[in-house]
Protein backbone atom coordinates (compact mmCIF):
# COMPACT_ATOMS: atom_id res chain seq x y z
CA UNK A 1 0.00 0.00 0.00
CA UNK A 2 1.37 3.32 -0.97
CA UNK A 3 -0.05 6.47 0.58
CA UNK A 4 -0.15 9.86 -1.04
CA UNK A 5 -0.82 13.23 0.55
CA UNK A 6 -2.63 15.42 -1.98
CA UNK A 7 -2.16 19.09 -1.27
CA UNK A 8 -5.71 19.91 -2.32
CA UNK A 9 -6.81 18.35 0.96
CA UNK A 10 -5.14 21.24 2.77
CA UNK A 11 -7.74 23.60 1.32
CA UNK A 12 -9.78 22.70 4.41
CA UNK A 13 -7.14 24.42 6.58
CA UNK A 14 -7.25 28.09 7.54
CA UNK A 15 -4.90 30.50 5.78
CA UNK A 16 -1.65 31.18 7.67
CA UNK A 17 -2.60 34.86 7.77
CA UNK A 18 -6.09 34.96 9.31
CA UNK A 19 -6.19 38.59 10.44
CA UNK A 20 -9.31 38.21 12.59
CA UNK A 21 -7.02 36.22 14.88
CA UNK A 22 -4.63 39.11 15.46
CA UNK A 23 -1.57 37.14 16.54
CA UNK A 24 -1.32 35.64 13.03
CA UNK A 25 -0.41 39.09 11.65
CA UNK A 26 3.20 38.90 12.90
CA UNK A 27 3.48 35.12 13.07
CA UNK A 28 2.57 34.03 9.54
CA UNK A 29 5.01 33.75 6.63
CA UNK A 30 4.86 36.77 4.32
CA UNK A 31 6.63 35.07 1.40
CA UNK A 32 4.99 32.33 -0.66
CA UNK A 33 5.68 28.84 0.65
CA UNK A 34 8.00 26.86 -1.65
CA UNK A 35 6.54 23.87 -3.43
CA UNK A 36 8.87 20.87 -3.22
CA UNK A 37 8.27 17.17 -3.83
CA UNK A 38 7.46 14.77 -1.01
CA UNK A 39 10.58 12.72 -0.29
CA UNK A 40 11.12 9.88 2.16
CA UNK A 41 11.78 12.58 4.77
CA UNK A 42 8.20 13.86 4.55
CA UNK A 43 6.46 10.56 3.80
CA UNK A 44 7.75 8.86 6.94
CA UNK A 45 6.91 9.85 10.48
CA UNK A 46 7.32 8.84 14.10
CA UNK A 47 5.40 5.91 15.53
CA UNK A 48 4.46 5.64 19.19
CA UNK A 49 3.29 2.41 20.76
CA UNK A 50 1.37 1.69 23.89
CA UNK A 51 4.62 1.95 25.87
CA UNK A 52 4.36 5.72 25.42
CA UNK A 53 1.41 5.95 27.79
CA UNK A 54 0.57 4.92 31.33
CA UNK A 55 -2.64 3.78 32.96
CA UNK A 56 -5.04 6.67 33.56
CA UNK A 57 -3.18 8.98 31.17
CA UNK A 58 -6.51 9.07 29.28
CA UNK A 59 -8.62 9.69 32.41
CA UNK A 60 -8.22 13.33 33.44
CA UNK A 61 -10.57 12.81 36.39
CA UNK A 62 -8.20 10.37 38.12
CA UNK A 63 -4.87 12.15 38.08
CA UNK A 64 -5.18 13.70 41.55
CA UNK A 65 -6.31 12.74 45.05
CA UNK A 66 -9.89 13.84 44.51
CA UNK A 67 -12.26 14.25 41.60
CA UNK A 68 -12.35 17.52 39.65
CA UNK A 69 -15.43 19.75 39.67
CA UNK A 70 -17.51 20.06 36.54
CA UNK A 71 -19.58 17.97 34.17
CA UNK A 72 -17.89 14.60 33.70
CA UNK A 73 -17.75 13.66 30.01
CA UNK A 74 -16.49 10.89 27.77
CA UNK A 75 -14.73 12.15 24.63
CA UNK A 76 -14.09 9.42 22.11
CA UNK A 77 -13.89 8.64 18.41
CA UNK A 78 -11.74 7.27 15.64
CA UNK A 79 -8.60 8.56 13.97
CA UNK A 80 -9.01 7.95 10.23
CA UNK A 81 -7.17 8.66 7.00
CA UNK A 82 -8.73 10.31 3.94
CA UNK A 83 -10.04 6.94 2.76
CA UNK A 84 -11.78 6.68 6.15
CA UNK A 85 -9.58 3.77 7.12
CA UNK A 86 -8.56 3.55 10.77
CA UNK A 87 -5.15 4.83 11.84
CA UNK A 88 -4.02 2.39 14.55
CA UNK A 89 -1.31 3.18 17.11
CA UNK A 90 -1.74 6.92 16.66
CA UNK A 91 -0.58 9.01 19.60
CA UNK A 92 -3.39 11.38 20.63
CA UNK A 93 -2.62 14.10 23.18
CA UNK A 94 -5.06 16.64 24.57
CA UNK A 95 -5.05 19.60 26.91
CA UNK A 96 -7.82 21.89 28.09
CA UNK A 97 -9.10 24.44 30.60
CA UNK A 98 -10.92 23.28 33.73
CA UNK A 99 -14.69 23.53 34.20
CA UNK A 100 -14.32 27.24 35.09
CA UNK A 101 -12.38 28.03 31.94
CA UNK A 102 -9.01 28.35 33.70
CA UNK A 103 -5.83 26.71 32.38
CA UNK A 104 -3.27 25.44 34.87
CA UNK A 105 -0.56 27.15 32.75
CA UNK A 106 0.76 30.02 34.86
CA UNK A 107 0.40 32.55 32.03
CA UNK A 108 -3.38 32.19 32.42
CA UNK A 109 -4.13 34.49 35.36
CA UNK A 110 -7.71 35.51 34.61
CA UNK A 111 -9.99 35.56 37.66
CA UNK A 112 -11.42 32.05 37.60
CA UNK A 113 -10.38 29.42 40.14
CA UNK A 114 -7.91 26.62 39.58
CA UNK A 115 -9.08 23.16 40.55
CA UNK A 116 -6.50 21.31 42.69
CA UNK A 117 -7.89 18.05 41.34
CA UNK A 118 -7.52 18.91 37.67
CA UNK A 119 -4.47 19.46 35.50
CA UNK A 120 -6.20 19.14 32.14
CA UNK A 121 -3.71 17.10 30.12
CA UNK A 122 -4.18 13.58 28.77
CA UNK A 123 -2.80 11.20 26.19
CA UNK A 124 -3.62 7.86 24.67
CA UNK A 125 -2.82 5.67 21.67
CA UNK A 126 -5.48 4.46 19.22
CA UNK A 127 -6.25 0.74 19.12
CA UNK A 128 -6.20 -1.41 15.99
CA UNK A 129 -9.53 0.10 14.90
CA UNK A 130 -8.18 3.63 15.27
CA UNK A 131 -10.36 4.16 18.35
CA UNK A 132 -9.45 6.42 21.27
CA UNK A 133 -11.26 7.40 24.45
CA UNK A 134 -10.77 10.04 27.14
CA UNK A 135 -12.65 10.77 30.34
CA UNK A 136 -12.53 14.39 31.43
CA UNK A 137 -14.74 17.31 32.47
CA UNK A 138 -16.32 19.79 30.10
CA UNK A 139 -14.01 22.82 29.80
CA UNK A 140 -15.43 26.28 30.45
CA UNK A 141 -15.34 29.25 28.09
CA UNK A 142 -12.70 31.86 28.89
CA UNK A 143 -11.86 35.44 27.96
CA UNK A 144 -8.84 36.37 25.84
CA UNK A 145 -7.24 39.57 24.60
CA UNK A 146 -7.85 39.37 20.86
CA UNK A 147 -10.51 42.09 20.83
CA UNK A 148 -12.93 43.76 23.22
CA UNK A 149 -14.93 41.21 25.23
CA UNK A 150 -13.46 38.24 23.35
CA UNK A 151 -14.35 34.76 24.67
CA UNK A 152 -13.25 31.41 23.34
CA UNK A 153 -15.98 28.80 22.83
CA UNK A 154 -15.61 25.67 24.97
CA UNK A 155 -12.91 23.56 23.35
CA UNK A 156 -10.35 20.83 23.90
CA UNK A 157 -6.94 21.01 22.19
CA UNK A 158 -5.89 17.88 20.30
CA UNK A 159 -2.48 16.83 18.97
CA UNK A 160 -2.45 13.77 16.68
CA UNK A 161 0.17 11.76 14.79
CA UNK A 162 -0.70 9.77 11.67
CA UNK A 163 1.04 7.76 9.00
CA UNK A 164 3.57 10.44 8.13
CA UNK A 165 4.99 13.74 9.34
CA UNK A 166 2.68 15.34 6.76
CA UNK A 167 -0.34 13.94 8.63
CA UNK A 168 0.68 15.72 11.83
CA UNK A 169 -2.32 17.63 13.13
CA UNK A 170 -2.91 20.06 15.97
CA UNK A 171 -6.54 21.12 16.22
CA UNK A 172 -9.33 21.99 18.65
CA UNK A 173 -12.51 20.06 19.36
CA UNK A 174 -15.62 22.14 19.94
CA UNK A 175 -19.02 21.29 21.46
CA UNK A 176 -22.28 21.29 19.52
CA UNK A 177 -24.47 24.39 19.55
CA UNK A 178 -21.99 26.76 21.16
CA UNK A 179 -23.37 30.31 21.20
CA UNK A 180 -19.83 31.74 20.95
CA UNK A 181 -19.12 30.27 17.49
CA UNK A 182 -20.15 33.38 15.51
CA UNK A 183 -17.76 35.56 17.52
CA UNK A 184 -14.63 33.40 17.56
CA UNK A 185 -11.95 34.27 14.97
CA UNK A 186 -10.00 31.06 15.60
CA UNK A 187 -12.99 28.82 14.86
CA UNK A 188 -13.97 31.03 11.92
CA UNK A 189 -10.44 31.05 10.48
CA UNK A 190 -11.68 27.87 8.79
CA UNK A 191 -13.66 29.48 6.01
CA UNK A 192 -15.67 26.52 4.76
CA UNK A 193 -18.74 25.79 6.85
CA UNK A 194 -18.54 22.03 6.28
CA UNK A 195 -14.89 22.02 7.32
CA UNK A 196 -15.74 24.00 10.46
CA UNK A 197 -18.41 21.43 11.27
CA UNK A 198 -15.73 18.72 11.30
CA UNK A 199 -14.19 20.38 14.37
CA UNK A 200 -17.46 20.11 16.31
CA UNK A 201 -18.03 16.96 18.33
CA UNK A 202 -21.46 15.35 18.31
CA UNK A 203 -23.48 14.63 21.40
CA UNK A 204 -23.48 10.85 21.75
CA UNK A 205 -26.48 9.72 23.77
CA UNK A 206 -25.79 6.06 23.03
CA UNK A 207 -22.43 6.16 24.80
CA UNK A 208 -23.56 8.37 27.63
CA UNK A 209 -23.10 6.46 30.89
CA UNK A 210 -26.34 6.69 32.93
CA UNK A 211 -25.93 8.41 36.31
CA UNK A 212 -22.27 9.09 35.53
CA UNK A 213 -21.17 10.94 32.37
CA UNK A 214 -22.34 12.51 29.11
CA UNK A 215 -20.52 11.48 25.95
CA UNK A 216 -19.25 13.34 22.89
CA UNK A 217 -17.93 11.76 19.71
CA UNK A 218 -15.08 13.36 17.77
CA UNK A 219 -13.67 11.60 14.72
CA UNK A 220 -10.39 12.99 13.41
CA UNK A 221 -9.50 12.67 9.72
CA UNK A 222 -5.80 13.02 8.87
CA UNK A 223 -4.02 13.62 5.57
CA UNK A 224 -3.17 10.53 3.54
CA UNK A 225 -5.01 8.32 1.13
CA UNK A 226 -4.18 5.28 -0.94
CA UNK A 227 -2.56 5.97 -4.29
CA UNK A 228 -4.61 4.83 -7.27
CA UNK A 229 -2.80 3.39 -10.33
CA UNK A 230 -3.43 6.75 -12.00
CA UNK A 231 -1.66 8.59 -9.18
CA UNK A 232 1.28 6.27 -9.56
CA UNK A 233 1.48 6.93 -13.29
CA UNK A 234 1.66 10.63 -12.61
CA UNK A 235 4.79 10.28 -10.50
Amino acid sequence: MSLIFPKQSLEAFPKHLSPGYKSTIKRSPSKPLMIVPHTLSELTGPVYGHDAIQENDNDLTRQHKGEPLGERIVVHGHVLDEDKRPVPNALVELWQANACGRYVHNVDQHPAPLDPNFTGAGRTVTDDKGYYKFITVKPGAYPWGNHHNAWRPNHIHFSVFGHSFLSRLVTQMYFPGDYLFPYDPIFNSVLDEKARARMISTFDLENTVPDWALAFRFDIVLRGREATPLDNDEH
Binding site: T44, E93, M199
Partner: protein, 203 residues
Protein backbone atom coordinates in the same frame (compact mmCIF):
# COMPACT_ATOMS: atom_id res chain seq x y z
CA UNK B 1 -13.53 16.22 -1.96
CA UNK B 2 -11.25 16.44 0.97
CA UNK B 3 -12.68 15.83 4.39
CA UNK B 4 -9.68 16.21 6.64
CA UNK B 5 -10.04 17.80 10.05
CA UNK B 6 -8.87 21.43 9.87
CA UNK B 7 -5.87 22.69 11.82
CA UNK B 8 -6.25 25.11 14.73
CA UNK B 9 -3.56 26.93 16.67
CA UNK B 10 -1.64 25.16 19.42
CA UNK B 11 -2.40 28.28 21.48
CA UNK B 12 -0.39 29.69 24.39
CA UNK B 13 -1.05 26.97 26.96
CA UNK B 14 0.21 23.72 25.40
CA UNK B 15 3.30 23.34 27.58
CA UNK B 16 1.77 21.36 30.44
CA UNK B 17 0.27 18.93 27.96
CA UNK B 18 2.90 18.56 25.24
CA UNK B 19 6.21 19.61 26.78
CA UNK B 20 5.71 19.29 30.54
CA UNK B 21 9.39 18.86 31.32
CA UNK B 22 10.71 20.89 28.45
CA UNK B 23 12.98 23.91 28.36
CA UNK B 24 9.97 26.07 28.95
CA UNK B 25 10.28 27.14 32.57
CA UNK B 26 6.72 28.35 32.84
CA UNK B 27 6.41 25.86 35.65
CA UNK B 28 8.72 26.80 38.54
CA UNK B 29 7.00 24.46 40.99
CA UNK B 30 7.14 21.40 38.78
CA UNK B 31 3.40 20.98 39.14
CA UNK B 32 2.93 19.78 35.56
CA UNK B 33 4.49 16.66 36.90
CA UNK B 34 4.04 13.91 34.43
CA UNK B 35 6.47 12.36 32.07
CA UNK B 36 7.28 13.70 28.64
CA UNK B 37 6.19 11.48 25.80
CA UNK B 38 8.49 13.25 23.38
CA UNK B 39 11.87 14.55 24.51
CA UNK B 40 14.19 17.26 23.19
CA UNK B 41 17.06 14.81 23.76
CA UNK B 42 16.83 12.21 20.97
CA UNK B 43 20.08 10.41 21.81
CA UNK B 44 19.68 6.77 22.82
CA UNK B 45 22.51 4.71 24.33
CA UNK B 46 22.68 2.47 21.25
CA UNK B 47 22.61 5.24 18.62
CA UNK B 48 25.76 5.33 16.51
CA UNK B 49 27.05 8.47 14.86
CA UNK B 50 28.17 11.96 15.74
CA UNK B 51 26.47 13.52 18.71
CA UNK B 52 25.37 17.10 18.06
CA UNK B 53 23.37 19.88 19.68
CA UNK B 54 21.07 22.24 17.81
CA UNK B 55 20.06 25.56 19.30
CA UNK B 56 18.21 28.56 17.96
CA UNK B 57 15.75 31.36 18.55
CA UNK B 58 12.37 31.75 16.86
CA UNK B 59 11.55 35.34 15.80
CA UNK B 60 8.29 36.94 14.75
CA UNK B 61 7.71 39.63 12.11
CA UNK B 62 8.82 42.35 14.52
CA UNK B 63 12.08 40.47 15.12
CA UNK B 64 10.95 39.65 18.65
CA UNK B 65 11.61 36.19 20.09
CA UNK B 66 8.56 33.91 20.28
CA UNK B 67 8.41 32.48 23.78
CA UNK B 68 5.39 30.21 23.30
CA UNK B 69 6.52 28.20 20.32
CA UNK B 70 6.94 24.44 19.93
CA UNK B 71 9.44 22.97 17.49
CA UNK B 72 9.27 19.36 16.36
CA UNK B 73 12.04 17.65 14.38
CA UNK B 74 12.06 14.44 12.33
CA UNK B 75 15.28 12.90 11.05
CA UNK B 76 17.03 9.75 9.89
CA UNK B 77 19.66 8.01 11.99
CA UNK B 78 23.39 8.33 11.26
CA UNK B 79 23.07 5.70 8.51
CA UNK B 80 20.21 7.45 6.73
CA UNK B 81 17.42 5.20 8.04
CA UNK B 82 14.06 6.49 9.26
CA UNK B 83 12.54 4.70 12.25
CA UNK B 84 9.22 4.40 10.46
CA UNK B 85 7.34 1.49 8.89
CA UNK B 86 7.40 3.50 5.66
CA UNK B 87 11.11 4.19 5.89
CA UNK B 88 12.30 1.22 3.84
CA UNK B 89 15.42 0.05 5.65
CA UNK B 90 14.27 0.44 9.23
CA UNK B 91 16.64 1.56 11.90
CA UNK B 92 17.91 -1.27 14.06
CA UNK B 93 18.45 0.91 17.10
CA UNK B 94 16.08 2.54 19.58
CA UNK B 95 16.84 5.89 17.98
CA UNK B 96 13.44 7.33 17.05
CA UNK B 97 14.58 10.46 15.25
CA UNK B 98 11.67 12.50 16.55
CA UNK B 99 12.00 15.33 19.06
CA UNK B 100 10.06 18.21 20.51
CA UNK B 101 11.24 21.40 22.21
CA UNK B 102 9.24 24.32 23.53
CA UNK B 103 10.93 27.70 23.37
CA UNK B 104 11.86 29.29 26.67
CA UNK B 105 11.21 32.87 27.75
CA UNK B 106 13.98 34.10 25.45
CA UNK B 107 12.52 32.22 22.47
CA UNK B 108 15.28 29.59 22.57
CA UNK B 109 14.76 25.95 21.59
CA UNK B 110 17.37 23.19 21.69
CA UNK B 111 17.82 19.55 20.72
CA UNK B 112 20.47 16.98 21.53
CA UNK B 113 20.67 14.44 18.75
CA UNK B 114 22.83 12.54 16.27
CA UNK B 115 23.85 13.97 12.93
CA UNK B 116 21.62 12.31 10.32
CA UNK B 117 23.01 10.35 7.36
CA UNK B 118 21.97 10.77 3.74
CA UNK B 119 18.60 9.50 2.54
CA UNK B 120 17.25 9.03 -0.96
CA UNK B 121 15.48 11.93 -2.63
CA UNK B 122 13.47 12.28 -5.86
CA UNK B 123 14.57 9.78 -8.51
CA UNK B 124 16.83 8.00 -6.00
CA UNK B 125 19.28 10.90 -5.91
CA UNK B 126 20.81 11.23 -2.45
CA UNK B 127 19.76 14.18 -0.33
CA UNK B 128 22.28 15.99 1.85
CA UNK B 129 21.96 15.26 5.57
CA UNK B 130 18.99 17.25 6.83
CA UNK B 131 16.28 17.41 9.46
CA UNK B 132 12.61 18.19 8.81
CA UNK B 133 11.43 20.94 11.16
CA UNK B 134 7.82 21.72 12.06
CA UNK B 135 6.87 24.93 13.88
CA UNK B 136 3.77 25.43 16.04
CA UNK B 137 2.91 28.53 18.03
CA UNK B 138 0.27 30.79 19.40
CA UNK B 139 -0.54 33.03 16.44
CA UNK B 140 0.07 30.21 13.99
CA UNK B 141 -3.31 28.87 13.01
CA UNK B 142 -1.52 25.98 11.29
CA UNK B 143 1.97 24.55 11.45
CA UNK B 144 4.77 25.42 9.03
CA UNK B 145 7.47 23.08 7.76
CA UNK B 146 11.08 23.89 7.01
CA UNK B 147 14.37 21.98 6.77
CA UNK B 148 17.67 22.22 8.58
CA UNK B 149 20.90 21.52 6.65
CA UNK B 150 24.45 21.60 8.06
CA UNK B 151 27.02 24.17 6.94
CA UNK B 152 29.87 21.62 6.98
CA UNK B 153 28.32 19.21 4.44
CA UNK B 154 29.73 19.23 0.90
CA UNK B 155 26.62 17.30 -0.21
CA UNK B 156 24.55 20.49 0.18
CA UNK B 157 25.78 21.61 -3.24
CA UNK B 158 23.91 18.75 -4.93
CA UNK B 159 20.88 18.48 -2.69
CA UNK B 160 17.76 18.31 -4.89
CA UNK B 161 15.52 20.23 -2.47
CA UNK B 162 18.05 22.88 -1.49
CA UNK B 163 18.71 23.51 -5.18
CA UNK B 164 15.04 24.32 -5.74
CA UNK B 165 15.32 27.18 -3.24
CA UNK B 166 16.42 30.55 -4.67
CA UNK B 167 20.15 30.93 -3.95
CA UNK B 168 19.72 34.09 -1.87
CA UNK B 169 17.31 32.36 0.53
CA UNK B 170 19.18 29.04 0.99
CA UNK B 171 21.11 30.47 3.93
CA UNK B 172 17.90 30.44 6.00
CA UNK B 173 18.00 26.62 5.91
CA UNK B 174 21.63 26.23 6.98
CA UNK B 175 22.64 25.56 10.59
CA UNK B 176 26.07 26.91 11.53
CA UNK B 177 28.61 24.91 13.48
CA UNK B 178 30.00 26.91 16.38
CA UNK B 179 33.78 26.82 16.73
CA UNK B 180 35.24 24.95 19.68
CA UNK B 181 32.07 23.14 20.76
CA UNK B 182 32.01 19.46 21.74
CA UNK B 183 29.57 17.92 21.02
CA UNK B 184 29.30 20.21 18.03
CA UNK B 185 26.70 22.93 18.51
CA UNK B 186 24.82 24.06 15.41
CA UNK B 187 23.04 27.38 15.49
CA UNK B 188 19.72 27.53 13.62
CA UNK B 189 17.44 30.53 14.07
CA UNK B 190 13.94 30.54 12.59
CA UNK B 191 12.43 33.78 11.30
CA UNK B 192 8.72 33.30 10.85
CA UNK B 193 8.23 36.54 8.91
CA UNK B 194 10.20 39.44 7.49
CA UNK B 195 13.34 40.26 5.51
CA UNK B 196 15.35 37.16 6.28
CA UNK B 197 12.24 35.01 6.55
CA UNK B 198 13.01 31.30 6.79
CA UNK B 199 12.00 29.32 3.72
CA UNK B 200 8.87 27.32 4.53
CA UNK B 201 7.63 24.52 2.32
CA UNK B 202 4.25 23.96 0.74
CA UNK B 203 4.17 20.17 1.19
Amino acid sequence: MSEITPSQTVGPFFAYGLTPKGRCDWDPNGSYSWKNTVESNLVTPDASGTRIRIEGIVYDGDNLPINDCMIEIWQADSQGRYASPRGGAASNTQFKGFGRSATDKAGVFAFDTIKPGQVAGPGGKPQAPHIVVCVFSRGMIRQVYTRLYFDDEAANANDPILNMVPADRRKTLIAHKQAGTDPALYRFDIRVQGGDETVFFDI
